[in-house]
Symmetry: C2
Subunit: 110 residues, 2 copies
DNA sequence: TTGCCTCCTGTAGATAATCTAGGAGGAACA
DNA sequence: TGTTCCTCCTAGATTATCTACAGGAGGCAA
């Protein structure tokens, strides 16, 4: 009990990943670290959400992967945004703004 | 295809309902109308989401129901917030602010 | 009094995103 | 040689939401 709500808002993970990869190509583990860091530890992505999401995005053609070596000389799969991914990011961002603004309107009503 | 993303951000429905009922007691159908109206038509709650959500909330003790007659003289189940519901609304609102602020941080990074 | 429309409640089943809880390979280092 | 850390991956469960129905009851018109 005292069940803590999820650390994410469901439906925003794809957008967060796309945005992070828009900053620079990165491997999956790095993406989750990066998001956590930028959000000051508020957004925590666990691996069971991260990797399926990356596959989803690659399936859709929004990101592309390539094996390489990480900073620590480990094998790592580097992802980068495709052109279609860029477009998708823009759309998802616009939709997010629209929905979150609407929610704020409700919260401030009365 | 061109699959439109959900009209809601998953996980925010309970908060929206609680907030609407905090404005004034209302029947279920009225709650969804109200949310749609306040959000200028952006947030649309369909019935298959609405009624299960109301049951969830009543189960948790956050709202209480009572049958009555609507403005149009139809039978309607009026819901009102309980004290625990008020507290829950505050918590969910705070959590929403925390998460949406974190997401904005990520979106504005770079 | 019949029929239809609107209001309002409800349910079953599918879908899909996320979480839990694991496993594994390989580099670095003691 | 053993241990730790980095990085990738997966199966199964959970749960919120959506789709697509059904039905009662009031009001109104013919």
């Amino acid at each position: 009990m005292a069940k803590t709500k999820s650390d994410l808002l469901q439906g925003t993970l794809d957008m967060l990943i796309l945005k992070t990869l828009a900053l620079e190509p990165m491997h999956g583990w790095g993406v989750s670290q990066r998001i956590q860091q930028i959000s000051s530890g508020v957004l925590n992505i666990n691996q069971g959400s991260l990797y399926p999401a990356l596959y989803r995005l690659e399936d859709q053609g929004w990101i592309k992967s390539e094996w390489g070596a990480s900073d620590n000389n480990r094998q790592a799969k580097y992802y980068k945004l495709t052109r279609a991914g860029r477009k998708q990011l823009d759309e998802e961002t616009a939709n997010w703004q629209r929905l979150s603004a609407a929610i704020e309107q409700v919260l401030q009503a009365g």
